[in-house]
Symmetry: C2
Subunit: 374 residues, 2 copies
């Protein structure tokens, strides 16, 4: 097995779990937030900066790397770790989500998906076999099965067809996987917001015995209470001893609600994307740092933060950099936001260990402000 997962403890009043995931590139304490390095780099940040903020695992996108620079080039580099100078763990998605959200003119058949590159317009094809071939070339520690991520809302008939195809594709991914001892392949449960369809998807995937399971097809437009409800029942069907990954989720409230329901892994572009727009998360809620309000504010972004940015720079300086379109400003806000989520997860882990997850969640929400959580 490429990975080991150990359940270290569980909160007594919720389903929050404290775990430890070991991959060929190190130990990941869970629950964990994975920063996203879409194009083999976490936007604006160096590997050293990510390590300084205690990042243990990154996500990178198969679709983007397939299009540019091409997985053959990454393979030639010795894989993604070597290509991007990151010696800790990496997870790659399968490209499924991006094919459905970014590319144009896609056509789905049982064989796979034909689509046009959103960069070159070139006609391309991804199938379970092709996605796994790419992921094998990229060489991440955890790789995802090629799935269809259905939109929200979608009708039941379509959702059922789609999840069944996803199950058949999952089986083909397993068969195509050439490096099972180095890379753990996770299955993805689909089924939209229909309880019986989620159950069917979970059952079909469990039969294939994946070393880990993701919940896909959420955070695609459904109301948050609906997402939480789907997590409530879906996670209950997944095996305790395997890691569970909620894909594409990363706002503070979704991280808390996910952990509370038993999620171990999360990824999202949110912290780096809002950072580049000049929004930072702090223990007292979000700040839009470009605001004139901060032009003479000599405080650090977050009085309770000890990240590189907060140790060295004022709000006024960071505002100046952003107003002046200086890249260093984007670095400073990105460092702060990623650190914020990584540290929040660290505190959640400590709270689970101390059996006070709900108390920590309450303290966090009270200070952060309920209106800003999502």
């Amino acid at each position: 097995m490429a990975i080991q997962f150990e359940l270290l403890g569980q909160d007594s009043r919720t389903r929050a779990r404290r775990g430890r995931l070991t991959t060929p590139h190190g130990v990941i304490e869970t629950p964990v937030f994975m920063p996203v390095g879409t194009q083999a780099t976490v936007k604006t940040l160096s590997p050293e900066e990510l390590k300084e903020m205690e990042t243990t695992i990154l996500l990178s996108n198969t679709y983007h790397l397939f299009l540019r620079p091409g997985h053959d080039i990454v393979r030639e580099a010795g894989g993604l770790h070597s290509f991007m100078n990151w010696d800790r763990s990496i997870l790659t998605d399968s490209g499924g989500f991006q094919v459905f959200s970014l590319s144009a003119l896609r056509k789905i058949t049982e064989e796979g998906v034909t689509f046009r590159s959103h960069i070159s317009g070139e006609k391309l094809f991804l199938s379970p076999e092709k996605a796994i071939e790419i992921e094998n070339a990229l060489g991440a520690d955890i790789i995802m099965a090629f799935d269809e991520c259905a939109p929200y809302p979608a009708d039941r008939d379509y959702l059922k067809q789609s999840l069944e195809r996803t199950s058949r594709w999952a089986k083909r991914c397993l068969a195509a996987h050439a490096r099972p001892h180095e890379q753990a392949l996770f299955g993805i449960v689909q089924g939209g917001v229909e309880r019986d369809l989620r159950k069917q998807s979970a059952d079909e995937l469990l039969e294939l015995d994946f070393p880990g399971y993701a919940v896909g097809g959420l955070a695609v437009g459904e109301p948050k209470p609906v997402m939480y409800e789907v997590l409530d029942y879906t996670l209950a069907w997944l095996p305790q001893g395997r890691p569970r990954y909620l894909m594409g989720v990363g706002s503070p409230d979704d991280l808390f609600e996910g952990v509370e329901r038993g999620v171990d892994m999360f990824d999202c572009v949110l912290p780096t994307r809002i950072a580049r727009n000049g929004t930072v998360m702090t223990s007292h809620g979000k700040l839009v740092i470009r605001n004139a309000l901060y032009s003479r504010d000599w405080e650090k972004l977050d009085p309770e933060c000890d990240c590189y940015t907060c140790r060295n720079y004022s709000r006024a300086y960071i505002r100046h950099l952003l107003k002046a379109d200086e890249i260093f400003g984007l670095r400073l806000t990105s460092i702060h936001n990623v650190y914020f989520l990584v540290q929040m997860m660290k505190r959640m882990r400590a709270a689970i260990e101390q059996n006070r997850f709900l108390e920590y969640k309450r303290e966090f929400y009270d200070k952060y402000g309920y209106g800003q959580l999502s």
Copy 2:
């Protein structure tokens, strides 16, 4: 006196000098190249990265900081060092050059220059007194007198009027300077490419007894041999015991030719600007790293370089980042190019100490390629 300058040695066959400049923020071995932090940041780089590559002094631009964020804000931060988290030396120019090169609708009178901001269109005014007030607020270790940088070509009558005004302005700068014990004010020799006018300018400024002198009005379009000729005679008139600064110059050949003629200090946006366009300097000449030629090139940018970029990343990875518009790529090329010039100056200093400046210059040119030097 805010600074001390010690002449440590001189090459026996050229006028190349080895010196040591001490400011309130540290020791600067000369000849030195100063990276440019126009808007209180060296584009894409952190102070720690600049220190790792042994940068001892930065230049920042008075004109830009006057416009944004405003010198009152920088003063409130405790000065530029504190604002931008840089505890080594800083030099600020006076805004003179930018007023003439960037702003619109400028009108020059004896009192000063009225111009429109290139950002807001706002009507603004800079005079010797105002420029020094701003530079006093910014608090750099070395500050420059407010001068008029005449264009090339310019007629003799205009050049003469202009240098005489610059001399009168220099006197007013000295009178206005409120922090002479903390900030060394340098005078700027003008006079275009006319030998007698340069002599007149140097004489008038020497009478004012500045702790250091710059040669201004060069690298503004005149042929290189003409610039070198002006340096030949102008530097001979400047006092041996004071540092000499050639403003706005930074291509490898100009650095060599300047040092050979006795220049101690240089600044230029060249290394960071070309880096952001994807051009890197190497010991074997320039590479346009976006070129498809490098898509599978696993070498480091420069086989003889040990900068952070070259220690950790391949040409293929850097090319990928630049093609994908990833900011981290701009960081990597900027680090490399600034390091390249800083190390080149370090090697020039060692060569002067060993009395083999011309040999080192020849070795450098032979390897770099004569066609790529400028």
